[in-house]
Subunit: 160 residues, 2 copies
């Protein structure tokens, strides 16, 4: 493997490892556990679960890899805070969305070459990207790895 391929593969592997930790945690929660708050008055686990799906779904258009699969999650889990939307998707629906979004991302990521990871994403202008080429697709991936962990760290505080 050429060094650029190994570098890109290392980053994609970090995404996979952290995603697996999140998957093991959130897909393992019961209905009751999903209703628990990470701390008194803070987000419920179901909100963090749906939020991760919605944010990862948005990676498709942000990385220029396609349309979102589940734009219906935006209102409840992205635009609005927890408890602002009365009826949330069921646990089974969220499991299905999780798998659908991440299967799609996995298939797309498997096709990207190192050079393609270094291309611009759709949230940055041509001008800004020319000035700051480190704000590339790989940077988005690493930012999402960080984001997963931000919420996994919080989720670990919830009562068992």
């Amino acid at each position: 493997m050429a060094s650029d391929e190994t570098l890109a593969a290392t980053a994609v592997h970090a995404w996979k490892m952290n995603l697996e930790r999140a998957e093991k945690f959130f897909l393992g929660l019961s209905e009751d556990q999903l209703q628990k708050e990470v701390a008194p008055g803070k987000n419920r686990l179901i909100y963090l679960f749906g939020h991760l799906i919605a944010v990862h779904d948005y990676m498709l258009p942000v990385l220029g890899l396609g349309e979102r699969r589940h734009p219906e999650l935006e209102d409840a889990f992205l635009t609005k805070p927890d408890r602002a939307v009365g009826e949330l998707p069921t646990r089974a629906e969220l499991h299905q969305c999780w798998r659908d979004v991440h299967d799609t991302l996995r298939d797309q990521f498997a096709r990207l070459t190192p050079a393609e990871w270094l291309m611009k994403h759709t949230l940055i202008s041509d001008e800004d990207f020319a000035a700051t080429p480190l704000r590339n697709r790989l940077a988005v991936l690493l930012s999402r790895v960080a984001h997963i962990n931000s919420h996994l760290g919080q989720a670990a505080l919830a009562p068992k």
Copy 2:
């Protein structure tokens, strides 16, 4: 810049960006704020602050870049849980340790070539590394980026 250089630079940039967020948060806390818990009965902010310094200090030997600068932090912030050690370093001492550890890491990282980021770290055997070359120095860096965010996500829950 060759693509392997840009890939490695993107990862180091992600480390820098996340570290800056942590620095802005923890170095901005007053003595009183450092004593706050992230949630009732959970770690205090001073523990997370010292813990990040101790974990990052350990990156020097883990990455084969030198000895730890502040092994005296291990007992209070790494081996033992919060409140197990009676007397902690002062806020000023922790600020000094933070700067010292991260200045050292920054200088070391600036010298590493892409190929050197792909070398094995010291926590993995030659045999295991031959089988799983993605467990390289860069993977350690990305793991620490995730770790920062895990605790920053918790820290954001603490009362202001």
